[in-house]
Point group: C2
Chain length 463, copies 2
Amino acid sequence: MTTNLQRELETMLPAEDRLLDPADCWAYGADNSRLHALPEAVAFPRDAGAIVELVRLCRSLRTPLVVRGRGTGTTGAVVPVHGGLVLSMERMNRILEVDPANRWLVTEPGATNSEVQQAAGQHGFFWPPDPTSSAFCSIGGNLGCNAAGPRAVKYGTPRDNTLGLAAVAGTGDPLRTGVYTTKGVVGYDLTRLLIGSEGTLAVITEATLRLTPLPETRQLLQAVYRDMRAAAAAVARIMAQPATPCALEFMDAAAIGMIRGYADTALPEQAGAMLMIEVDGARAQIGLAAEAVRRAASGDGCLAIEVAATPEDAERLWRTRKALSPALRNIAPKKINEDVVVPVSRIPDLIDGLQALGRRYGITIVNFGHAGNGNIHVNLLVDPEDPVQMQAAERCLDEVFTLVLALRGTLSGEHGIGLVKREFVRRELDPAALRLMRGLQRVFDPDGIMNPGKSLPDALEAT
Amino acid sequence: MTTNLQRELETMLPAEDRLLDPADCWAYGADNSRLHALPEAVAFPRDAGAIVELVRLCRSLRTPLVVRGRGTGTTGAVVPVHGGLVLSMERMNRILEVDPANRWLVTEPGATNSEVQQAAGQHGFFWPPDPTSSAFCSIGGNLGCNAAGPRAVKYGTPRDNTLGLAAVAGTGDPLRTGVYTTKGVVGYDLTRLLIGSEGTLAVITEATLRLTPLPETRQLLQAVYRDMRAAAAAVARIMAQPATPCALEFMDAAAIGMIRGYADTALPEQAGAMLMIEVDGARAQIGLAAEAVRRAASGDGCLAIEVAATPEDAERLWRTRKALSPALRNIAPKKINEDVVVPVSRIPDLIDGLQALGRRYGITIVNFGHAGNGNIHVNLLVDPEDPVQMQAAERCLDEVFTLVLALRGTLSGEHGIGLVKREFVRRELDPAALRLMRGLQRVFDPDGIMNPGKSLPDALEAT
């Protein structure tokens, strides 16, 4: 049975620019959340003009349109739960312009993060957001989720590093937002409104990214603490001095325990928390920056600090951090990975609360993440084959979110909402703010076709 | 004759919280643009609850509501051209919370920029935006205009330095936006939408500002160039290396000529452009940073570079820059001061174009500003008593804006739109983007009471 959408696409697009067979479409129904739904069709637009046509088609048919980068997201944001058309941006992957004198790079959204880094790097620049999947994730996906990664502690998120966008709104209108300069106050800030909106307002067709000069060199420090409270106090001291690190990662006691069992780490026996701190800058200054950070990292509860003297040393220290993922896989078949954020001073309260919840629900919880931003990756280790444990995990997660909000935190720092956190959004957002967001959504997408069922929760009542 | 608004305010507010007499209201009808319009009434709310009542009152009466900081703006953004109520935020000026461990400061909008700097400074922090009128301008005004100042080149604008807001929308609903953390992707970015919206969407009642550690010290350099092209090339070189200056100001040949006639400056005879470059950082590193910048500032067309060796030296060098304002006042009774922005590499084209326009219209044009952002303060020196010259200035300005947009620039970097640039906005903004902005405005302000006649131009047709 052929649907109206499929019939229209057959005449509208050449065969190589679309998929209509369910077997072909299957792979475009999932992301890295393991959720899946089958779209009616997949289109591979090659320019903004094609996207205008496709949005208008979906509007006329009242059919959902789900824009998709490379599917590396973890929240189901690109899973077409209401069917319709998946717009895969993989063929709009050209880098259109690199302007080193003005520090911008114009790219189509399908380029990967690492392709952008390479193009910028040839001129001595980089684009700071890097969600550690840079070889696979697309710029459009980074922008759709405001995905940041470890360097955000010094350089900010995509919202801080994007000058302007071209997009096609859910109305079918192509538009341009923002400027080519680092200042500009003409009209409302649509650029940042679209960034992080998970394809619910518009399809981004081009982005002007703000570039940053590549630092000459980096230096890594590893600091071990008696407990999380001592480590969090060190994070606050590090962030209060001007030599802001370009990465400030942490692991809690449970995470350290995991890697201890898995790899030879040479960490002190009493280690209750660990920080990995990286500074970057000019070669002539890096030693002074590392020393400033070392001084700030020292203090009550600090058991040891090691400054990597050589690249091999740094490699060895990062190996400790990198041992964590295989260690977790080794222990539990599945981890539920959340990316909550709390103010830095509340990290110890969060970790204490998480350990208490873990004990109450009989679930091992392992925490690590971007300490400088208070962005904690909370990992519930579970067996998906065990329905009792999975139910317990669900109740536990509910309490995790309550705890995070009580600590003045937020439910997601970079993974986004998608499907999986959607019903929790109501707990965080002010009802009036949520009503206004729904109103904004209707302005961009009057027929409700843009990635329906994602990001904002459904209205409880007519608004 | 008493209006409905005045009658309602008499019962709603104690006498000391309102002004109804036109003579008393007079002073609240102007800003620093010298434009003026008399409001029906002025209210001095003391909390968000009072603002909710006042917005609802204005909504029920379909009366304009114009929120006002300290009136230091230059665009007429707070001039009540359609009458109604002026909401002066001067009594909501408490700094509510400073949290050094989490690097935030919560303030009411009526606090001045310098009061915030003092409160943050006691803990070793500052708030980077500083539109050089810090003693007089309010935080609410800074946020309303996204006013940035010279430090934006390193530290960004208010949009980059604000975590969250409390506000009352034009619907009368109080709301909270944003987070207390430096990452957060739950819902759409209403914080940045409200910043720079010039009171046309909501009244900001509280702001959570992101603090930055105070640098230990600063160092100033003055670099003189043969012409603007050589200076702009130096700006691009300076911005392409990692030691980003905390100020990167410039003056063109006309500006140098002005101060030469006015003060003893010891600048080389052939000076065609000048850069004032300031670096900040730790005492141990400042010399290296200054040296990196000195190297980048050197090159073809550079006539001289002086590094201030002592605070007295720096004082003397800044005196050159500060001589400009009195010099301009000495020469012309009035200056029309625009704050356009162009990509750094296009600054020379802009300056050349401005000089040609000046010759054609018989108007002296003097340019200086924030070179690192490409943010140029274009000053047309005119005699307001001379109607022929004033007409010529108007036509000239029109061509200035055309030139700026042709160079991929923007009409305003920090002063905003207000009344004075409103009819030019249509030339910059994409029509679809403008339609969407009007739609967003209707969501926040369904009755069109929020600072009507500002920021966005009137619709030409029904939309």
